[in-house]
Symmetry: C4
Subunit: 242 residues, 4 copies
Amino acid sequence: MATSSSAVPPPAAELVEELVIGNRILFQQNVVDAFGHISVRHDKDPTKYLMSRHLAPGLVTADDIVAFDLDSVPVHDISKRYYSERFIHGEIYRARPEVVAVVHCHAPQLIPFGATKAMLRPIYHMSGFLGTGVPVFEIREAGGMTDMLIRTPMLGKALARALGDKQIILMRGHGATMVGTSIKQAVYRSIYAALNAALQMDALRLGEPTFLAAEEAAKAAESNDGALERPWALWKRQAMSE
Amino acid sequence: MATSSSAVPPPAAELVEELVIGNRILFQQNVVDAFGHISVRHDKDPTKYLMSRHLAPGLVTADDIVAFDLDSVPVHDISKRYYSERFIHGEIYRARPEVVAVVHCHAPQLIPFGATKAMLRPIYHMSGFLGTGVPVFEIREAGGMTDMLIRTPMLGKALARALGDKQIILMRGHGATMVGTSIKQAVYRSIYAALNAALQMDALRLGEPTFLAAEEAAKAAESNDGALERPWALWKRQAMSE
Amino acid sequence: MATSSSAVPPPAAELVEELVIGNRILFQQNVVDAFGHISVRHDKDPTKYLMSRHLAPGLVTADDIVAFDLDSVPVHDISKRYYSERFIHGEIYRARPEVVAVVHCHAPQLIPFGATKAMLRPIYHMSGFLGTGVPVFEIREAGGMTDMLIRTPMLGKALARALGDKQIILMRGHGATMVGTSIKQAVYRSIYAALNAALQMDALRLGEPTFLAAEEAAKAAESNDGALERPWALWKRQAMSE
Amino acid sequence: MATSSSAVPPPAAELVEELVIGNRILFQQNVVDAFGHISVRHDKDPTKYLMSRHLAPGLVTADDIVAFDLDSVPVHDISKRYYSERFIHGEIYRARPEVVAVVHCHAPQLIPFGATKAMLRPIYHMSGFLGTGVPVFEIREAGGMTDMLIRTPMLGKALARALGDKQIILMRGHGATMVGTSIKQAVYRSIYAALNAALQMDALRLGEPTFLAAEEAAKAAESNDGALERPWALWKRQAMSE
């Protein structure tokens, strides 16, 4: 974190460190490549969030983390370059008070579901969080002919509206956005949404899959939320030893 | 192994070491990710088995190995967290006296077969052990609407019953469980069951595959059982040098 | 660069270094294996271009970079072995004055599109540059029965003609060639053309994909051109630390 | 090589070293896993060939290389364990005097073609050597119900007969065998046969592929044979630095 003279208190060092690790894990697990980003709500001020400056997630360090307000304006330093799609984060934090972390990615396995009518559904218990439904955002409805990016508060609001109370939204011709009540949960959901997509594509070629029932999915999601430390410990070791 | 004052004698250090290596191999070969587990029957007491505490297999060391009885109660220390699905292991050891090792995994290639009507069959000699048939466990029949996990002795018994005298069982919406008469055999079967699944999916898209006949499969399985040291030496070097 | 006594001035060391990095990135990102090549137009003389001698791109160093004229004759040293397909580069530089870098590769994901009637189209914003169309070069029309390689100025001219004003051309039974106004842009296009091909194959199996509209593709391509430094920094670190 | 007092002269150290490198490359390039083998005809005695003892190719060193006669009997030391399928090698060397190297593998991409009626055909110039046809060996015709392995001279002779004058043969439910006039050529053919299979599977899902015409394939194969040093240098560096 760059030092600051503003009224916004600095976030806990542990939170910044966890956000850095989240960036690295998303890269090491192939959820993001040079593009995509992860943010976390500020622990001292819920009207702010923390995210890296314009940088590939695999290269992010604590010094790159910046605070933004919910309009996605950097709090301290407007001289650097920031992710042009930071409005995804700000508008979701505004619309969903319980959300603590947001991931935006172009995970390859998710793109085909966003581009077709196929619905992403939970094929196994690891992705029970998909069971409440996965909407698809069509940017043409909100913005007409664009470069596909969420470059404005208006587009960010439209995306947040399309997300509603769900945990993940696919974005046609672009990628996906996932939320969570912690960095660990949002990272978990990103990794297993992508893996579920790959497994579902394979299963669809084999026959008619039996997906998890809504009740199975809800129970599985709750169970998995109780075991987030286990994969995090492994992912962290893999990501930080590179 | 944690030291102990109970009546259960400590297992051979070599067995614990082999179990640790088995954990690492399953991770390095992508059979397990942060989830899944491998156990071995206790060499001094067939009514006990050894398995890691609640930990990603890729992180397991000898100090993490714990003894359980066939009710899957830890023998020495009930204060730690253990795998919630340890009943898979205990109930299979109870039902199958000849079984010495059990692997439970969510190998991605196996999920599509568990979720559809497609039958996993031996497409080449490396997976002859599939030739006696691969049942699919539907947890709804045993437990109704669950979180998909084998969390109770009752579900463990139902799984063991569905496994019958087979070497592997797929679990709908969840994963798979393999058994063997040694750690090496159970690990071998895990790796080649997953690989066979991938090859079979490819072959099914090319045309009607000729699978191994039952007699071919049985003979191939016997031959492979005589060559387990060869892949183990390679996998061990790959897994332990990470 | 080998030293030289000819009239062609030496290129900037930074350009040679960037070309070396481009070689390594293309290998590390699986765009090329031992075959394929990347060139850049000479910064001091637009009638010359720079490329490695006959060597796998993953092994190229600054000492291997050689200058060629637009007839693809090496300027200084005709004693070494050079890529037999260097005419791809020379003839495209001759036909397209604005082109500064050329990549030729056999990226596995692109071969199926070159061998069938399926058209490569932009499935997401990262590959907006595909939106102006991707022609397929049929060497039989230009050269009859060949070894498929662009071994002559005549074949190079035919390829350049088929490329026209596009950014990429597929070559039936062979590979693909991409151009850019910088090394970074040509490398970017190579990586995302291959990734788009993989995603499109997956999407086609799921249903009828919605591809980017021409206007979306054009706008996305322009946006991406403004963010080339971000992936380059990551790819460079990955490629040069091997 | 173990020292010897027999009448068979020791092979050139360079040949043994090249064979070791060939073993490691086949492993590093995923043509073989713990199973599969590569041999070379003895440079001092064409009625002998060199191959590792029973060991995963990725672990082979010069000390593991042993000489066999064409009956596949080890020349010096019958006390060790050898590959049970060494008759593949001995019988092909007997039947094909021009063959200098033989690879046997279970490359995953090739298994689906051996198990179905789909014919492996050259989809691009890198695999022109496939253009003369790829027979499939059905071991049931030669040996009835077996463990699928070429365990006897009789089965080895049947395989060599089925191979005929071709460069590669698929083995139903088992794997493939490739030959070459050098270690480098046999390794090249192994790697690109597997890659071609993957590309062909993708192309078949996209539409009706245009394969290389026989004349194109023959010319491409000849061209590639003139460039074997280029990939070998890269593969060697990758394999020997592990």
